[in-house]
């Protein structure tokens, strides 16, 4: 397979069967349409390329900035394609909820603008919403911007109607599946694919999945938000069902751990929603049916999403010498010294004074002669090896003496004989009138 441009690699994604041992359905063959294997990593590659292609052909596009309201995969695909064509790309978003995607977009050279949050004190005269304002800005200055407008652009649907849907029919040997399940974001992939499938066989059952209202699943809108999507038409779907973030992660776990498909939570939601819907009808079926769901993107970008919702899935082995392993008795027994005594000790014994605060704070003011090892790095040093001997006198200091006493306890456990914690911390030091310098 040889190509002249990466954009030619978009589409023609594989359709892979999920083993019945995993989904447990007796009478349904369930297939995953692996849109995550598109070159930029998601189903949005198709829509992004289809929407932006005619705009690039337009001569006037030369200097313009490509703009889209997106906090995820569409922005990613557009950032790549814009970059390939030497155009700047700006993503406007309510909130970047997935930090990995944010960093990736910045890496790709995109500019990101986050819209302001809602006012705490309602101003009734301010009736325009931020999104409308952005639309006005874009339409007012068409010379500066190319707006791909994914929530309204019919070329979003067309990308799937002309390719995603027909690919499924071809891969199923010329038949449409009996059931098609897709998560609803811009409604582009579900609407476009459904149109192509229905044109081939009007009896295809189309199940749209939305997020539960209080939940957030990347790339899926909730039951109210779908109404804000211009491409969304309730008539496209035979049923609309909701999936919770927890269920999406459960579905994702099955795909990544058992099916070898490194799908993200959106694909997980589609798998979960598909199996739940099909389970309910499986027992009544008398002949074999086929069902297809869409795996939208890959798992790697969602580690912080998983960490936040299901931290137990990312379990870390406990470290031997970490503050978490300290007992109350050990902390109690750690030697401390108050500000007045510490000043005398510094004059007499010249201990190494280690300030555990952040570099920014240390830079502003610190105890004369102290060195700065930020607590996070200090914790690493404890694992890797301390830069001083066990008999070295050391005074540990932090803001109020809470962190330093724990590290003093740890060092004591590790055999350091003369480590003390500054009780009351730098604040007590300051309040005692002792010197703090900026040098």
């Amino acid at each position: 397979m040889r190509y002249d441009s990466i954009t030619e690699v978009i589409g023609d994604t594989p359709l892979v069967r999920i083993s019945p041992e995993i989904h447990g359905l007796q009478n349904v063959d369930l297939y995953a349409k692996l849109e995550m294997l598109n070159p930029f990593g998601s189903v949005k590659d198709r829509a992004a390329w289809n929407m932006v292609r005619p705009l690039l052909a337009d001569d006037a596009a030369g200097e313009r900035t490509v703009v889209e309201l997106s906090s995820g995969n569409t922005a990613k695909a557009l950032a790549v394609i814009s970059g390939m064509h030497g155009l700047p790309f700006k993503s406007v978003t309510n909130r970047m909820k997935v930090p990995e995607i944010k960093d990736l977009l910045l890496l790709l050279g995109a500019e990101i603008e986050e819209l302001p949050g809602q006012a705490e004190c309602l101003d009734p005269t301010n009736t325009e919403d931020p999104l409308t304002k952005i639309h006005q800005m874009l339409s007012a200055d068409t010379a500066a911007y190319v707006h791909t407008d994914q929530y309204y652009n019919p070329r979003n649907i067309e990308a799937h109607q002309s390719a995603t849907g027909p690919e499924i029919i071809k891969d199923l040997g010329g038949a449409a599946p009996d059931y098609f399940i897709a998560a609803v974001g811009t409604a582009g992939s579900s609407t476009g694919s459904a149109r192509a499938l229905r044109a081939h066989d009007p009896s295809v059952g189309v199940i749209g999945l939305v997020a539960e209202k209080a939940d957030f699943i990347p790339g899926i809108r909730n039951i109210d938000e779908v109404n804000e999507v211009g491409l969304f038409d309730p008539a496209t779907y035979d049923t609309i069902e909701s999936v919770s973030a927890d269920e999406a992660i459960d579905g994702m776990l099955t795909l990544v751990r058992r099916c070898g498909m490194l799908a993200g939570p959106t694909g997980g939601a589609a798998y979960f929603g598909a199996v739940r819907h099909l389970q309910a009808i499986d027992a009544q079926l008398t002949d074999r049916k086929t069902a297809v769901f869409i795996v939208c993107d890959r798992v790697e970008s969602y580690m912080s999403y998983v960490r936040k919702r299901r931290p137990e899935l990312l379990r870390q082995p406990a470290r031997r010498n970490s503050v978490a392993t300290l007992t109350d008795a050990e902390v109690e027994a750690a030697p401390t010294i108050d500000a007045a005594a510490a000043r005398r000790w510094i004059d007499e014994a010249r201990p190494l004074v280690v300030d555990l605060r952040g570099a920014f704070a240390f830079d502003a003011l610190h105890i004369p002669g102290s060195i700065n090892i930020v607590d996070e790095i200090f914790a690493e040093l404890i694992q890797a090896g301390m830069p001083f001997g066990r008999s070295q006198p050391v005074l540990l200091a932090c803001p109020v003496g809470e962190q330093s006493v724990k590290y003093a306890a740890l060092l004591r456990r590790m055999g350091h004989t003369d480590v003390r914690s500054l009780s009351g911390g730098i604040i007590a030091w300051r309040d005692a009138g002792a010197a703090l310098v900026r040098d």
Partner: protein, 487 residues
């Protein structure tokens, strides 16, 4: 009628036990008329402690300033004077009120737009001045010089913070000095250092967005370092208020209501509002446009919890949690909650004058109050009033749930207490009271006026004394005499 869509208010124990005494509430309205505002001073003391707990958890020092503008009550301010809290005043009248309620000048901070006489009284009494601009700083310095006043402690209010990595857009504020102009502001500070002493920096952003506030606090930390490099020694950062209140008891009711409102706007169900008002939403060819212009009434992360989340979040450019940065830099944290500090501190009562069914099938409940007496609608807070039945009226056969429009006592088409159809568990009757609970923050006396010579609500303070509720007029409340066993 279809399933009633309730928006039940969140009630904590003090408010709940007060509402449990319909006889007491009816007695008060009989004596003092309708509408009637009730404040619960002991609750504000408890609320101060909840914010203090967040400080303690993060080992932070600093002060809670009550934003007085949320409520004009004397009882609340006097009770607050008896706690560790300080007060933020935004007019010369509020300054006089705070001084008269027992706040010594050290515990008062003047913010907002200031007249020359306001600045003089602030400087003369020695309150902290939260300076809005270089011009205001210079005006203050001139007053201090001319009247030979002692040095005034000032905070400098900043705005237009720059974000790193991602552009965090923020609505422009009419208050504060843009960060880009800080060098000139600090020049003025140094020029007038005989008249003014810089004790800290401040900001207040009118947004519920944490990211914007984190960016602003991060920006203040950097300006504090600039001050320090100039030899100035500010010690405090004042992050303003806007911590919010959770008004509703049940998040599912809010989710269900807003979904149904969306459906009503799209024409998929009968309207939920008078004349199909959409609260900012509209339908364009079946697609929903606009934005919901409502306060997010169900907000589990509000008040002290919101502060906790902000302090726990990372400083966007400096790294490490914001609380850690404040602590490590030895800075005090000042906050100015208004609404959040008077959470659960008051109710507005109104008598039902008439219950009328129209030929169109609507039910109107006319109240002895008007929309300006309880400005929930103006602030976009949707929350059901609590029905307080007339005593001795309990044995009548109760009707089923009913949806009604609440109309006011002004001879004005627009005088709706709310444009929303309010659902009640039973049909209100003439003589019942409706209690609009949790209205002490901005909804009670902020906009009330004498239009049509209608009375403005009187205000009373109530407090628990063992099992009994006691009351006095708001102006007669003093913390040492109006006290009981509040359990």
């Amino acid at each position: 009628m279809s399933t009633p869509l309730y928006l039940a208010p969140r009630l904590e124990s003090r408010l709940e036990s007060l509402l449990d005494r319909p006889d007491f509430l009816h007695q008060l309205t009989r004596a003092l008329g309708s509408p009637l505002n009730i404040v619960l001073p002991d609750q504000i003391a408890e609320n101060v402690q909840r914010f203090q707990d967040v400080y303690d958890r993060h080992r932070l020092s600093g002060t809670v300033y009550f934003a007085h503008k949320a409520n004009r009550s004397s009882a609340l301010v006097r009770r607050l004077a008896d706690t560790a809290a300080h007060i933020d005043i935004a007019s010369i009248g509020e300054l006089q009120h705070a001084l008269g309620c027992g706040f010594a000048p050290e515990r008062i901070m003047a913010t907002g737009p200031k007249s020359s006489e306001f600045l003089w009284l602030a400087a003369r009494t020695g309150v902290i001045v939260n300076a809005d601009s270089t011009g205001e700083l210079e005006q203050l310095a001139a007053i201090v010089t001319k009247h030979q006043l002692p040095r005034v402690r000032v905070l400098l209010r900043l705005c237009d913070f720059e974000s790193s990595g991602v552009t965090v857009m923020s609505r422009r504020s009419r208050f504060g000095t843009p960060v880009a102009e800080v060098p000139r502001l600090l020049d003025a500070m140094e020029t007038h250092r005989d008249c003014v002493e810089l004790i800290g920096l401040a900001y207040h952003l009118d947004t519920i967005g944490l990211a914007e506030k984190a960016t602003a606090l991060d920006g203040c930390l950097k300006v504090m370092a600039d001050c320090s490099a100039r030899g100035l020694r500010p010690r405090a950062i004042d992050i303003g208020g806007g911590f919010g209140v959770d008004y509703l008891a049940d998040g599912n009711q809010w989710d269900e209501y807003t979904s149904e409102l969306t459906n009503a706007v799209l024409g998929k169900r009968p309207p939920l509002t008078w004349r199909g008002h959409g609260y900012g939403l509209r339908s364009e060819q079946g697609t929903l446009r606009g934005a919901l212009g409502l306060y997010p009434a169900h907000r589990p992360v509000a008040g002290p919890r919101y502060l906790d989340e902000l302090l726990t979040s990372q400083a966007p450019s400096l790294g490490r949690p914001l609380a850690t940065q404040l602590l490590e830099n030895l800075y005090d944290l000042h906050i100015e909650p208004g609404r959040a500090l008077v959470d659960q501190c008051g109710i507005a009562l109104a008598r039902v004058l008439e219950v009328r069914d129209t030929s169109g099938g609507d039910c109107f409940v006319r109240l002895e109050m008007n929309a300006s007496d309880v400005s929930l609608e103006e602030h976009g807070v949707l929350m059901d009033p609590v029905l307080v039945p007339r005593p001795g009226d309990d044995d009548q056969a109760a009707s089923g749930p009913v949806g009604a429009y609440l109309i006011g006592n002004l001879c004005l088409e627009a005088d709706f207490i709310t444009r929303r159809l309010v659902h009640f568990p039973r049909r209100p009757r003439v003589g019942d009271l409706l209690a609009f609970v949790n209205t002490a923050g901005y909804f009670m006396d902020f906009s009330a006026d004498h239009a049509l010579h209608q009375p403005i609500a009187r205000k009373v303070a109530v407090y628990r004394d063992g099992a009994e509720w006691r009351w006095c007029l708001d102006e007669n409340y003093w913390p040492n005499i109006c006290t009981g066993e509040d359990s």
